[in-house]
Amino acid sequence: MTVRDFISIPAGNLWRMKLRTILTVAGIVIAIAAFVSMVSFGTGTQENVDKQFNELGLLTTMQVFPQHRPNEPQSFGEPKLDLTALSRFERIPGVLLVYPYDPFVVHVRIGDTTLESRAQSLSHAAMQTKLFSQIRAGKIFEGDSSRSALISGELLKNAGIDNAESVIGKQLIVSMQVSTIDSALRHLLVDKGESIIDRVRRIQLDSLLNDDNYLRTTLRTEANEAVRRFVSGFLNARRTVSDTLTICGVVESERMGRMRMEPVIIPFKTGERFTTSGFSGNPADLFTAMSSGNLFQSADDRSGKSFSQVTINFDPHVFYATIKDSIEAQGFRTFSFAAEFDQIQKAFVYLDLALGAVGLLALLTASLGIVNTMAMSLLERKREIGIFKSLGADESEIRLLFLAESGTIGLIGSSFGIISGWIITRIVTIIAHIYMRRQGIPEVELFSLPIWLVLVALAVGTGVAVLAGLYPASRAARVDPVEALRND
């Protein structure tokens, strides 16, 4: 028998039994369409994540944190995440850029709207990394001393502005309430017209030396008074630092997991006006300064300033673990998306497998239809098989003819199933895009139908059909020609 015979004879049989063939093929079409659309969804989601990782350069970015957790006190001897540490990081081979995350609370005024927000200052080099590449309107600032700022889409939304282009070139007034240790110290010495000398004079020295009870009471009272004066001076003697900048761009998003981006981004040098003016007035900042030993440091002296987070950009050709190990060896915690990426990839494999399994279940059900069709065909064609055998067909040829028939059902079903699956994904995508547009969510492709999925669907559909045909084919091969040709 030639290959053409193995195609034409089964095709002829299927064509003869059109209705039965169509119904059997329909089962495979539905199953493969379900398989393709489900796996296509998993693949599409994975591609979206991969795309975002790559577009934002997350795989070449690492976050560094102090050893202690944000809500834990700094432990004794723990290395500080300060400028000295940053310069050590810069010297690690493969590290391209190091910049700290140093946010501060501000009030911003856009047009007639004033909002409380958070800001950070970033260098022009940092702004040129992929992380900040998603600009909705305008562009990033020209240099570190530029008199411009970037704002986030979220801030714009809070200000009630829909059109990002409309704010480009507009004024942005940034102001900040700062407290200084100097005013706190001044209040410590003189508060409400009473100096610390006046208080000392009121203390009875004899009683202090001879009366333990007096000593304890006096020390506690004076210590409390000193802290009150200091904190009162810190919190109540604030001054306003403000600057008027031009909005040069609107960035897409504020926050991507641990990759923090504040709603207002100011050029590094321009931002020093805010970052070196003093404490933001937030009591938490005061405690941070106290615990890090920087409380009485001069405000414009950044050498002792420590950061809660530092971002490192590294060469894509360098293995992330090398840099991670080097930084962790210095006593810091790190977070790298590259490390998470492997886990995410694994999760997607499991997701694809789970989605594919649902489709395969449908395919297994459809395969029962093939078994039924082929078994019926066997019963109807026993005499034909007997004739073939009397003409010299051997068992393997009969088996192959039946397998070719079930395989053809699978191949046709898979082909139409892939097309149907693709049509389903297109329809769902159109509906989803309409919904996303209405919700103001950026449109993303939910499904992906790569060539490997087409080939896998074809192979799985045809393979399952061939497997389903194995039993009827083997029975057909064993048909006794004498029995089949006997006169009824």
């Binding site: 004739i387 003409l391 010299g392």
Partner: protein
């Protein structure tokens, strides 16, 4: 009987299990067929004629005994070799024609060459030629249901001989035909035998067997009961 037997059946037995009973379809049949011979096997229904024919054609395997073609026993052949034997050396025609109902006359004849490694184009040429020779040129695209019984059997003969077999087994070839068509088919078999084809015909029609075969083997209850000379003047032996 020819001087040198070509197809031999030696002490052939074929038993079937039918529930608790064992049916002795053939009980020790020995038979020789010479090359170019026209052998008629006659016997009543159930005498084992068709069983013997199936064993000689390699469609069935004996319970004991053996069939030998030339110097090869069928019993030592693999399934593949047996298929090749049926595909290349054996032609078969049946009482009920056994044509494939949904194939045309041409397709039915072509099918005989499918398992014979004959290229597709040559199949059609050979099938058309043989159908033409048998007077069925205008019936090639007809399905069996559209043909008369005689035409159907001629298509079956065409299918049997298109592959140029060494031996033709005919199992009651005229059993379903009227007298006129029966004579035509019998005459056709005689002509084929004249052209050198060995023919083994099973029939219960003793008169026809006498008229067309060189030799007649009689069967009863699964055994050979006699071996008579037929009418040698009607066909040459080789």
């Amino acid at each position: 009987m020819t001087s040198e037997p070509w197809l031999r059946a030696v002490d052939l037995c074929r038993f079937y299990k039918r529930g608790p009973q064992t049916v002795h379809a053939l009980a020790g049949v020995t038979l020789d067929v010479g090359r170019g011979e026209f052998l008629g096997i006659v016997g009543a229904s159930g005498s084992g004629k068709s069983t013997l024919l199936n064993l000689l054609a390699g469609l069935d395997t004996p319970t004991s005994g053996f069939v030998q073609i030339g110097d090869r026993r069928l019993s030592v052949m693999s399934r593949k070799e047996l298929s090749r034997y049926r595909a290349c050396q054996v032609g078969m025609i049946f009482q009920s024609f056994n044509l494939i109902a949904h194939y045309t006359a041409l397709q039915n004849v072509e099918t005989a060459l499918v398992f014979n490694d004959v290229p597709q184009k040559e199949r059609r040429t050979a099938a058309l030629a043989i159908l033409g020779q048998l007077g069925l040129a205008d019936r090639v695209s007809h399905r069996p249901a559209d043909l008369s019984g005689g035409e159907q059997q001629r298509v079956a003969v065409a299918r049997a001989i298109v592959k140029k077999p060494s031996i033709l087994f005919a199992d009651e070839p005229t059993g379903n035909l009227d007298y006129e068509n029966s004579m035509q088919i019998a005459e056709l078999l005689r002509q084929l035998n004249h052209s050198g084809l060995t023919v083994v015909m099973v029939t219960h029609n003793l008169e026809m067997a006498n008229a067309y075969s060189h030799r007649i083997a009689r069967m009863q209850y699964g055994k050979m009961t006699g071996d008579d000379e037929g009418m040698p003047q009607k066909g040459p032996r080789t």
